[in-house]
Symmetry: C2
Subunit: 249 residues, 2 copies
């Protein structure tokens, strides 16, 4: 029996990264989870990452402290309010955008991949409902893979790192369906940009609204804890957009 | 009179980055110096960066703590001996190579550039005597610039970050000559991978030997402090290689 090859999986503790971790396992890899603690990032999310990694029996789970506060510039790292109930139909880059965040995360993942002899990095970025972040687009992913091939000893020696973004072209409901088939417990995951001190989601930031709308489209209740009872939050959601997969029947 | 535009300058406190800072000023920029404190990195080098930045009257000097120890894998961050007096004629990647280090540094620089509205990043990499590091090659620099254009809000909005590597094609003696013309005080800089507790250089690691050989080729004495008296170190150096700029007369 072959020993599964190691792959680095960026794991925030949110819905997308938990699904990505499950995909990495389903694709035959032994995942090494990599979680970043930064700035005002909430302990609830890091705890969620720990629980998700444990539930998936990862080979190893590394936590790296990174100091994004010194850079400021985002509602997620500086004293700027998290926007609530904003219009998500446009492609404006929101104030929760953290400058170059995925580039910083992927740079660490690349270093870890080289140190552990892993040739694959999984990242849960998503181009369809990407909330306006420039570093979640397919061109960006391709450019990082191109950089990775030139950046490391492994690349120079003919083993370039592959960047895998299995959610890139999935809608949020498709991501959840994929995860449920793979046994992801979404009750362990946290996506909110502005949780309370008990880790309960706000229900109104971009991340909560995309997530709640997706569960609603699937006719499911999000098992994660919310400050507002979930049924109230769901009642406040718009109906599923025309053309969403659930409306094709 | 125009206000000089800001540029981010990666500043380690070594010879190359001090020269790069002087070039950025000479090219009309107001430098924002960015220094990383990481792993076993020696306080002497960070102090050198502070002095070099002060001498150059930078607009701002930021220090970012980054945790490379968790990744291990290098003589500069893990408990692996720094190699001494090794053969520098080949292109083997040495154990002082820190996996993906420049990618991590540039990712932070990219974030800072966006936050400060700077469109230019200076890095002192050098392809000629680059000591075998893959992330010091021209192709790597081009690939990062390509990534940067896709990674940030500024890039999306048509103001892609430029990556400037003014030392890329210079020899070490050419770098020193350039810096001396621009008034760099190399006595403030530190390059050694293995300084003693007083910040004095070892004279035998790759970085010391490349630096000492370059000063020797120019007929100069390196003004930085060494554990061994510099004349002893110089006497132990091989004569300048044929084809070095100083031998063309």
């Amino acid at each position: 029996m072959d020993t599964p090859r190691a792959a680095i999986v960026l794991l925030s503790g949110g819905l997308d990264s938990a699904t990505t971790l499950a995909v990495a396992k389903a694709e035959g890899f032994a995942p090494i989870a990599l979680t970043f603690r930064y700035g005002q990032r909430h302990a609830a999310e890091v705890d969620a990452a720990r629980q998700v990694a444990a539930a998936a029996s990862v080979r190893e789970h590394l936590f790296v402290d990174i100091d994004l506060r010194v850079l400021g510039g985002s509602a997620l790292t500086a004293d700027i309010p998290v926007p609530k109930d904003r219009d998500l139909s446009g492609f404006e880059i929101p104030s929760t955008y953290v400058p170059a965040r995925n580039t910083i995360f992927l740079a660490y993942a690349l270093a870890l991949a080289e140190v552990r002899g892993a040739q694959d990095i999984y990242i849960g970025v998503n181009a369809l409902d990407y909330s306006g972040y420039p570093d979640c687009r397919p061109d960006y992913i391709a450019a990082f893979e191109n950089l990775a091939a030139l950046a490391t000893r492994a690349g120079v020696e003919g083993r370039p790192t592959r960047l895998r973004a299995p959610l890139l072209h999935l809608t949020k409901p498709e991501i959840i369906r994929r995860g449920l088939v793979l046994g992801v417990d979404y009750g362990l995951t946290r996506s909110c940009y502005d949780p309370d001190e008990r880790g309960r989601a706000c229900g109104h930031c971009d991340s909560c609204r995309l997530r709640l709308a997706a569960f609603a489209q699937l006719g499911l209740t999000d098992p994660a804890p919310y400050r507002t009872p979930v049924d109230d939050v769901r009642a406040a959601m718009r109906p599923p957009a025309p053309g969403a997969p659930e409306d094709r029947s």
